[in-house]
Symmetry: D2
Subunit: 391 residues, 4 copies
């Protein structure tokens, strides 16, 4: 064990990230770690193993001399989508694996953590530090996914078990009203400060924005209920063609996790089923729903550039905010060789950019230039809606 006096900031960051992952999982029953009720959800135990495998594969194996792999089969089990790192269990099969057990995966974590501590006793080559820092941010992304997946697993169980009884659901105040006007002109966009960012934020560059206004607050549950009561889910003209198909094929009538119980709208939260509070931001809508709501209001969603240009004018963070922008490379984007190059670039088609952060985003894991992305119908991630208009 390293004494406190020698703990480097890097080790501190590593320890803190690793601990938070396990803290999130602490209230789970062992069975909750295992299931995968839908293809886009991963079993919590898979997240625990995969984030560990990342450090083992990309840090320990190349940089810790004499490191012995924990179990050679784990590469097959815990690789997510890295084509350059070999064959893998296909995503839809993750919930079929009872082994390795949860206890075994915690042992795997401890084993890798111990080797990481050893590695960090001496200064790292810059390459190793870069990938280690990426590994910490990578695990933070999986922390947020863990919350989504735990919520989905419990929230789709017919018994609606609460994740936790403590804390939870303090009432917040009213959302800010009104819009902030932004003048037309050339703006700079993209990351340029010191510190970590993903490759997809790089290549700071100029964009020309037409004059616009952006909402000061999120759309609330109460406002969204007006849309629902006004027939928003039954009138095709508010919807993209494929959004309308999605509504009809899946019989969508409300945001995810909403249940109408005896005429009163409830939604599943980590504290169990709760009545929907009109003043809270509406969450768990798809891009289709966010866009249809905007159309119903005669407004639109902001582009990611409009959002970034105005990001210091409003509070953000209750939910990732759908933008009108498609997830595309910035002009100077370059795809790095090797597995790290598979991190972002290969997903740059047919997804939408979300900006901001959510209740589940780990501390320090967002910034105004952060580009999150999901497919248009996805809504198990924690989303919010902010409106905009051309003026």
């Amino acid at each position: 064990m390293i004494t406190t006096t020698t703990v480097t900031p890097l080790l501190q960051q590593y320890r803190s990230v690793r601990k938070w992952t396990e803290d999130i999982c602490r209230p789970l029953q062992k069975e909750d770690y295992v299931v995968q009720p839908v293809d886009f959800v991963s079993p919590p135990k898979w997240h625990l193993g995969h984030s560990t495998w990342f450090f083992e594969t990309l840090v320990l194996k190349p940089f810790l001399p004499g490191y012995t792999e924990y179990d050679p089969n784990f590469n097959f089990v815990f690789n997510s989508y890295y084509e350059s790192l070999g064959a893998r269990v296909i995503r839809t099969q993750r919930g079929n694996l009872s082994r390795p057990t949860v206890d075994e995966i915690y042992r795997y974590r401890a084993y890798v953590d111990s080797a990481m501590e050893q590695l960090l006793e001496t200064p790292l080559p810059p390459d190793a530090e870069t990938i280690l820092v990426l590994g910490c941010h990578h695990e933070q992304q999986h922390q947020e996914l863990l919350w989504y997946d735990i919520k989905y697993i419990l929230g789709h169980n017919p018994l609606f078990p609460a994740y936790s009884d403590e804390n939870g659901n303090e009432k917040e105040g009213q959302q800010e009203k009104g819009f902030t006007k932004m003048p037309e002109g050339v703006y700079e966009t993209g990351f340029s400060r010191p510190g970590f960012c993903y490759d997809n934020e790089l290549g700071r560059h100029k964009v020309y924005l037409q004059p616009y206004a952006i909402a000061n607050g999120f759309v609330t549950n109460g406002e969204y209920l007006e849309f629902m009561r006004g027939g928003g889910y039954r009138e095709f003209s508010y919807w993209h063609a494929e959004g309308w198909d999605w509504v009809k094929n899946n019989d969508i009538q409300a945001p995810l996790y909403w249940h109408n119980i005896d005429g009163q709208w409830h939604h599943y939260t980590l504290n169990g089923l709760q009545p929907v509070r009109p003043e809270d931001p509406v969450q768990h809508t798809s891009f289709y729903e966010a866009s249809a709501y905007a159309a119903w209001k005669g407004l639109r969603l902001p582009t990611e550039f409009e959002w970034e240009a105005a990001a210091d004018k409003f509070n953000w963070g209750r939910g990732w905010e759908w933008t009108e922008s498609a997830y595309l490379p910035y002009p100077g984007f370059e795809r790095v060789a090797g597995p790290v190059g598979e991190y972002n670039g290969k997903f740059m088609v047919n997804q939408k950019v979300l900006r901001g952060a959510s209740d589940y985003t780990p501390k320090g894991h967002s910034r105004p230039t952060y580009r999150n992305f999901f497919h248009a119908p996805m809504r198990w991630q924690l989303t919010g809606i902010r409106l905009a208009k051309t003026i």
Copy 2:
């Protein structure tokens, strides 16, 4: 607690059946109870709950005055296919449920068992006894399914964990060679002895059999390997048209659980991967494969009536034996009203009859008139092949 002196045979049967189910599950890790790697497999914890629910719903609720249901939600979770008993989790969703937990389900079992003990303190009305006995046989069927499902769950895990290291795989002697000739004539078929049988065995009646001969032993792995090496999986003419499609669409090249490792055939067993022993009966083939093998030999499978007429001439029990017969009602078959009537009759189309028993069949759960049935492509159940010919 009831003292030993008062234990009725019925209670003894109940206790022994219930205990065996839990004995089967003892070596499992908690995670093994949860997963459902394919739609026809049920999670072990579901079997534990469902067999308990059967007694609660069909015995305790109607016959134990003042009985309080353990949890009203469990009816939804643990109903299998009984339309008459209300809505249910669809079969393909069983593996998505992390709750109720395994511990909770064992508590449910204990709760129901305790109520059953109480019920059995006094003599039962005949109706109750009938359904209770059916419940015991029902749970025995699920014991056999438990074995199949556990084997599938562990045998499809990339780590190939053994269920158990003890006992297992003693070598048995050679299979009997040759055929027994049976004269043509009128035979009686169907159940007529005292004791329990399923409704599908009832209506003992006459059938006329042409002269035939039936094999004294099972087809062995060694014989089946000749078929494989002779191109049996590549020559359409041995196969039914839909069997041939099944082979091609699923790239079938060997029985289930077989793996060719460095040129040597192994198969997954409850003791882990083992070399295939040529003298053992071939197991885990589908009807298509059994029939194609017979065609390749210039022979055929017996009908269920031929099998039953000769059942005292040979040893059976290593695997359920595919017959040529379709699963159809006997001439006098009558479907009972209510949930018990859903037990067999509604499945009498597009399935094949299997006769005999398997290594996994609970003691006392088979007899010469027992009609097991599965769809033609199924092979996770423990099957064997016995040949026949018209003479």
Copy 3:
């Protein structure tokens, strides 16, 4: 051209069969020849080509010296399911082929017919005669399929065009009432007369029948309407489990071609939409529906052996009669080598036997031993319902 005086019975048969196929197609528009609205329907032009290809491939090529193939590509286009005769357009793609054109296919027919006339100028070797006779019966089967497919193509067009305005729909009398009792005992079943039969009818053999009674007439539309009005399609207990799934998944509420127009049941016929006449036999039900109707009446369908034993006691022919029997080989069934061996045997799993004949069966193409077969949910073929009971 051969003079009339030399026309052999075989040539006469050939000419007459070939002509009837074209007579059936005469009222079609060219577009009607082309489409395939569902996978189990084939475009009429495909039937015209396929039945011709059968003679070219199995008669002319092997038996007419110097015969020149019409077009080598046609083997690929017009092979149906004969694995032994090479690659083929998969069944679901037949409706995607605009070429060869209808005119071209008629030229193909004329070319092959002319070669066949030439071949038949001199006596044939027995092998050739056998396959030629099979070819005629094969084409007759396709004639019946042609009727089914034409009816489906026109009957599923939103304009509901009539195939023909002439003749059609004369009222017939009442169906016979009552049942004929048949004594138990040993009966002979299977073909034994001189003349043509399919291989699946061969191997005349004994069966033992329990005492039973079989209906003298078909179930009528009026009787079936009672079942519908009595909630037959809404009560699961009359249905096989997979039949019930079929009803729910396809929202089945009536026989095929039935439409409720302003509260009055109509059905599509070759003369267009017509009111359903209560006294006519109900047609176009699936096995599931036939069986559910029988269950609702407290009766059952006959087995194919019961049907055959009593076939001289009642009129049959308005629709192929679903039996309870699965389509299985007779005890002495042998699969011939080569393409002819693919005719029947490879379909002997998961289908039901139908006995009798239908309004669309070509003259001389049925007999009491004829075993027709279809999958349980199929109902575009012309079916009828006859009931039976164990007594």
Copy 4:
């Protein structure tokens, strides 16, 4: 009949557009009009009817007093995707309709044309003229789709029939080499000239472009063959993740219509199968392939704004050019009420913009601001590849 002296330019345009549609279809066999070999292809007869239905529904019914609809059922048959105009045959069913016949649809065209001539005898209200002009451009779009669909229907027939033997395939010269540099700065984009444009081109506005260079010519077959021979289809790192799945799931190895015959690449053209000429522009690639090719070259595709800013620097028109841009609304885009508003806006998600024109684009149907759009995997439309780079 109207005398030549009175023919207005609008009528002239109408007549000329309507005639060209029929000219395209003239070489077809009647069967070619009917089939739909894949869901995104429509039968030619459907295009003939649908473009006619557009005029009948949106011009004649509202603006020609006393107009009698040709057949009320045609609305159901020929509506494409206009939710506001009632129920319709779903797209995948278009190839199942043998009726109305081709002759009937030509009669429908003549009937509507005659009414249109009558309507155009007198000056139109501006509303009517607007929609009539849109109808002409709409029919031109369907002319281009007609070419795509005819090519697909004939090019996927196992007989590979030529559409026509005349004209065709003159050799063109070399493609221009090199790149044109464009300075960074603010550019204007969008339609601003007099004349017709679609709503998606409107809202001319400023964009800021980083310095870039754009290719003077198309990528040629010869260059693309180098990519193929260099393993481009086997190396995942050039591909988007979903593009790589597309390659593997569909076993893609070359552009659409390419066939390797005895080691020599051919492609299906309207003149039949022809050897691929290395100096011609490569056509019929998907966005995934265009993007992977660019990645293999270390370059990228242009954005639609880069393309438009440089459109007067190079020749375009052999194929629609994939851009990196997603199909999104311009800042000032407004969706019109009613059916015309369904023309473009509702498709603005998950599609890519293509710019330019193709060999099949009707004269006068493109311009530098024209925004065509297709889904990333689509390639039956006539596409080309132009490269770009950030400098």
